[in-house]
């Protein structure tokens, strides 16, 4: 903990929230954001896996992954969690 300010007063330093190993790897540049988001989607499906057909599971996986690139709520959450913005398809890419 760092110290600053008046002598004798305890200083407060922002503590980083706990992070998964994968997120730490993203931040160290050892894992790409795309790989991290693929993993996030896989983990999000854990509680429904085996309870829906492979076709439905794939539908959910595809849509969740796509939305991570443009849905404003998810993009903001990704930005907050990783400090990076997902790559979205832009007009120029058509």
């Amino acid at each position: 903990m760092s110290t600053s300010g008046r002598a004798g007063a305890p200083s407060i330093r922002a503590v980083d929230p706990p992070q998964s190993e994968s997120l730490q790897r993203v931040k160290r540049g050892e894992m790409s954001l795309d790989e991290y988001l693929d993993e996030q989607v896989d983990q999000a499906l854990a509680h429904v896996k085996g309870r829906v057909s492979a076709e439905i599971l794939e539908s959910i996986r595809v849509v969740l992954r796509e939305k991570l690139e443009y849905d404003p709520v998810l993009v903001e959450m990704v930005q907050r969690a990783t400090g990076q913005r997902p790559h979205s398809l832009s007009v120029e890419e058509h």
Partner: protein, 260 residues
């Protein structure tokens, strides 16, 4: 609808709306039309971005221009309905309307293979949930309590979206007109899905009365949040919050079952 140049009045629908509002003065109508027009022109790019993502998701099964046309209708509708006093950015508000219009347009006008139709259902289910989360998630930093663990916030939202997708799916994956490329589900899948449906229904029975009612009305009776809220005599934002909380609890129950 055709894209216009900046400064043109693009929105025939908006003009139609203004003619219905005959009590307003001419100046007020003109000002309102200009506002709507400006919002539309400034956000045409958003239609293209969302159409591109939806197109990729449904494997380019529909002409891109058809998606754009539907998306522009959603944009015009958003511009007409937008109320800046609600504190949501227009771009956010419009994004949900545009995606909804594109997905609805595809659903109503095109026959898709069953597996692609299933993706449209997932779009629908997850949009409702994210739209509900938008006010809290997108407030400027400092004006709303931020999630203490941003990574957890993201993973919980994704898990809730997956739950919403399977609950909505129980309402029926596709109309009879959808191309059925895979025939019937195999017995193992059918058993697992019946079991899942039982878990979901039991879990809904265990929710609070209001959460359960919103979930039943929206997912099983096909009502919109507006009409669900109306029939419950509560506001739409409150119905949305109950929905989100209900889905969060369902996700937890499904995880508990998964863990045994």
């Amino acid at each position: 609808m055709r894209a216009g140049r900046k400064g043109e009045r693009l929105c025939s629908a908006a003009v139609g709306a203004s003619q219905d509002e005959g009590t307003e003065g001419t100046d007020e109508l003109s000002r309102r039309l200009d506002e709507i027009n400006e919002l539309v022109v400034q956000h045409l790019d958003l239609v293209e971005v969302i159409a591109r993502h939806v197109s990729r998701t449904i494997e380019n099964a529909v002409e891109f221009e058809e998606l754009i046309a539907a998306g522009r209708e959603g944009l015009v509708d958003a511009a007409r309905r937008f109320d800046p006093k609600r504190g949501t950015l227009f771009r956010t508000f419009a994004g949900f309307r545009i995606e909804g219009a594109i997905v609805d347009g595809v659903r109503k006008s095109f026959r898709l293979p069953r597996r692609l139709y299933a993706r449209l259902t997932v779009f629908e289910a997850t949009r409702a949930l994210n739209e509900c989360a938008a006010p809290a998630a997108l407030r400027p930093s400092g004006s709303y309590p931020q999630a203490p663990i941003p990574e957890k916030e993201l993973s919980e939202q994704l898990a809730a979206m997956a739950t919403a997708a399977i609950v909505l799916r129980d309402r029926g994956i596709a109309p009879d007109s959808a191309e059925d490329e895979s025939a019937q589900a195999n017995p193992e899948d059918a058993y697992a899905q019946a079991e899942l449906l039982g878990i979901v229904r039991d879990a809904i029975d265990g929710l609070g009365e209001h959460e359960a009612t919103v979930i039943r009305l929206y997912y099983f009776e096909g009502k919109s949040f507006e009409s669900a809220a109306e029939s419950m005599r509560i506001s739409k934002p409150w119905a949305s919050r109950l929905h989100a909380r209900g889905i969060e609890i369902l996700t937890k129950r499904l995880r508990d079952v998964e863990r045994g």
